[in-house]
């Protein structure tokens, strides 16, 4: 039986590969695939999906090897970034609760 954390990691990997295999190179996300993933899977976390320049910027930031594609390693940076933002949010929330 996989643990909660292992299940979460599995689902991140599955999501990546589901979008990465849609078109073009199957192991990487193209700009369009990244946009679709963000639109469908991160609609609560990221509100900038409609903003084409924001997608371009995220794509540029993630694509550290500059090949115009986001591979799994680069996708992990997105997950790490979101987790850090989520953790900070949580800590702020807890502080606010403690104040009250």
């Amino acid at each position: 039986m996989p643990s909660e954390l292992e299940t979460a990691m599995e689902s991140l990997i599955t999501v990546f590969h589901r979008y990465a295999s849609k078109q073009g190179r199957s192991g990487t996300l193209s700009r369009r695939e990244l946009r679709e993933l963000m639109e469908n899977e991160l609609s609560n976390f990221l509100k900038s999906q409609q903003d084409a320049t924001a997608i371009d910027k995220i794509m540029r930031d993630l694509d550290t090897n500059g090949d115009g594609q986001v591979d799994f390693e680069e996708f992990v940076s997105l997950v790490v970034g979101l987790s850090i933002a989520c953790e900070q949010c949580y800590q702020m929330h807890m502080k606010n609760v403690a104040k009250k």
Binding site: T7, H17, F72, V76, V80, Y90
Partner: protein, 94 residues
């Protein structure tokens, strides 16, 4: 996917009991409880100590949230690679 990210965060927070870092004992507990399916040697406290030392980028003897995410990223990469390789092998064979 958002749920999965929340799980990454809440697992760390509940293991550290609200502190910023995991000490050796909490890290060992977390690894044994959460990674026994993905990793070998989760029963060896020596191996877990070695892993903790490898993650400890700032050498403070504890595992920060960032260092914990490094481990998650590393494991996720390994699992993802092994998936791609096995599916490639399957398509090569067919």
């Amino acid at each position: 996917m958002e749920g999965a990210i929340k799980t990454l965060v809440t697992t760390f927070i509940s293991s550290s009991r609200g502190k910023d870092n995991l000490d050796s004992k909490s890290f060992q507990k977390l690894v044994q409880k959460q990674f026994s399916g993905m990793m070998e040697d989760t029963n060896s406290s020596k191996k877990i100590k070695e892993m903790q030392a490898g993650l400890d980028a700032n050498n403070d003897g504890k595992v920060s949230f960032q260092e914990y995410l490094t481990l998650i990223g590393y494991l996720a990469n390994c699992v993802s690679d092994s998936k791609t390789n096995s599916s490639q092998a399957a398509s090569d064979a067919s």
